[in-house]
């Protein structure tokens, strides 16, 4: 008979193989925008389309948060008149969009990235400097990388 032994490692959570950091794209100024160039490390794991869509959606959400328009001016002026005490009870527009972004990232992780052994980290946890993508060891396909 054939005995199959599982190593203890298989029963634990996957180990981190490497991390990729998607840098900021400053070509449009100081607004929060990330580069959409597909990193080569992810080629084996992810579609280029998928990646670009994720980053583009994130960029659009950040653009929405930082948009200069009638609504943001109104919020700014109203807040100034109350000596900014209004922010003690009200959430700013930016904070609302940040929550939206957090939900989107969680959603993307669950649907797309986790099944492929990847993890997106919310850029706010890295000072809005990078989108960190953690690549886990792929145990199901033999030796992974």
């Amino acid at each position: 008979f054939f005995v199959q032994t599982h190593s203890l490692q298989d029963l634990q959570q996957p180990a981190v193989s490497s991390k990729v950091f998607i840098q900021r794209d400053y070509s449009s100024g100081t607004i929060c925008k990330f580069q959409t160039k597909f990193p080569s490390e992810l080629e084996s794991r992810l579609d280029k389309q998928q990646f670009e869509e994720t980053i583009q959606t994130l960029n659009n959400l950040y653009a929405e948060a930082e948009k200069l328009g009638g609504k943001s001016y109104l919020e700014g002026c109203l807040a100034c008149l109350t000596a900014y005490t209004i922010f003690l009870c009200m959430e700013t527009h930016y904070e609302k969009v940040l929550k939206k972004i957090a939900r989107y990232i969680k959603d993307q992780n669950e649907k797309i990235y986790a099944p492929r052994g990847l993890l997106l980290t919310d850029p706010i946890e890295r000072g809005l400097r990078v989108v960190e993508i953690t690549i886990f060891e792929d145990r199901s396909i033999g030796s992974g990388r």
């Binding site: 490390e41 100034c80 000596a83 993890l119 000072g127 400097r129 960190e132």
Partner: protein, 404 residues
């Protein structure tokens, strides 16, 4: 191993002091800030105690009421500027720092032994202008455009304006508008108190018949009236002196910052002459429209703090680096992370009591759990623009790092 939950502010590098369990963030030296508080509160107290009763009765009760409102606004703006996060950029975690180092080395190629490697500069094109991003050796990041490292607080600050000792904090992206409103409202308050002090002096003198008596009996009476004058008005004189000296500095400062705002420049850029001069780059951030520039700086979006000061973290924990959701956001610590990291990463990514410079122990610790040596072998991603050749501004950038 004892694991205890600590707030993240306790482990933040840099020379800031924190109060109220991370809600308040200031620079280390606060002496001049206390002086500012003393001058403002002191002068206004004298005004309310001595001039206002007289003026309320003889002129109008609206005068003290408006003074109180203005005083409260000044204090609110001052405290908001002093206590909030100016826009500090958190330092790179070890993996990110290593990643950037590898990119730099790949771009530099082989440097012959004995030669200094070229300065770490990244070129980006913003609005058809080439802007150079400098590498911060302390924070191990390439500074975003307009960011600068404050040596007093030992942090990189986004849209760094200057470090203001009067306010006891850096002035940067997040608190510049409060700083400007503080100087503006303080100018108004100073002018207001100065004006009404003069009015008070004139009215008292007229009431006491000082001027008339002086005309009729220029002999002994002036001395008696002088003592009366001093008795009623010594505090007024003190206030006038304080206001006079404050006026010149604060009104001048307000004017200077109004000029900067209309051009969408920072004090730092103005001092370094980044956008002035014929051969220099023109300011790529300006909308070339005064109204639009003012609107962006003063009424733009309120940026959140990216320093999660009140988030909880495990100290000395080997397993989970999940940060629990922090408490409700107050107006000062506005960073809220409602989604904790759901997947478990084995390495403690958050710096422990060692500074980020001691990256080796934490990398070694993570190596026990994950095969991180493999990180060194993956090919660097060639996605950044090529680094520039050594440029003449290298010395000024190092000098600037020292002076800030």
């Amino acid at each position: 191993m004892i694991t205890r939950k600590v707030r993240k502010w306790e482990k933040l590098p840099g020379k800031n002091t924190f109060c109220c369990d991370g809600r308040v963030m200031m620079a280390r030296q606060k002496g001049v800030f206390y002086l500012t508080l003393f001058l403002i509160i002191g002068t206004c107290s004298l005004f309310f105690a001595f001039e206002c009763p007289y003026l309320a009765v003889h002129l109008s009760p609206a005068i003290p009421v408006f003074a109180v409102l203005l005083f409260l606004f000044v204090m609110a703006m001052l405290l908001r500027t002093s206590f909030s996060d100016p826009g500090v950029l958190p330092r790179a975690l070890p993996e990110e720092a290593t990643f950037i180092e590898m990119e730099i080395e790949a771009a530099n190629g082989n440097v012959p032994a004995g030669q200094r490697p070229p300065p770490r500069i990244r070129n980006v094109q913003i609005n058809n202008q080439i802007v150079k991003l400098k590498y911060c050796y302390t924070c191990k990041i390439f500074r975003p455009p307009r960011a600068s490292h404050c040596s007093i607080c030992d942090n990189c600050v986004d849209r760094f304006d200057h470090h203001c000792p009067w306010v006891g904090n850096c002035v940067g992206k997040r608190n510049y508008r409060y700083f400007y409103l503080f100087t503006l409202s303080l100018s108004l308050l100073t002018i207001y108190i100065f004006t009404f002090d003069i009015v008070h002096v004139v009215m008292r003198s007229v009431d006491n018949g000082f001027l008339n008596t002086l005309k009729e009996t220029p002999g002994t009476y002036p001395l008696l009236f002088l003592s009366d004058f001093l008795e009623y008005l010594s505090f007024t004189v003190l206030e006038v002196l304080v206001c006079f000296f404050t006026l010149w500095s604060v009104v001048g400062l307000t004017g200077f910052h109004t000029y900067l705002i209309s051009l969408n420049q920072t004090t730092n850029e103005d001092i370094k002459g980044s956008w002035s001069g014929k051969n220099r780059v023109q300011n790529p951030y300006s909308h070339k429209n005064i109204v639009k520039n003012c609107c962006e700086v003063l009424c733009g979006p309120t940026y959140p703090s990216v320093l999660d000061r009140r988030g909880l973290m495990q100290e000395d924990s080997p397993v989970s680096a999940a940060s629990a959701a922090p408490s409700s956001s107050s107006s000062n610590s506005s960073s809220s992370n409602p989604v904790p990291q759901t997947t478990k990463t084995t390495a403690p990514l958050i710096p422990n009591e060692h500074t980020p410079d001691d990256a080796k122990p934490s990398i070694a610790a993570s190596a026990e759990k994950s095969p991180s040596p493999r990180e060194e072998h993956h090919p660097p991603a060639p996605k950044v623009p090529p680094l520039a050749s050594p440029e003449t501004d290298a010395e000024t950038s190092i000098a600037k790092d020292k002076t800030h």
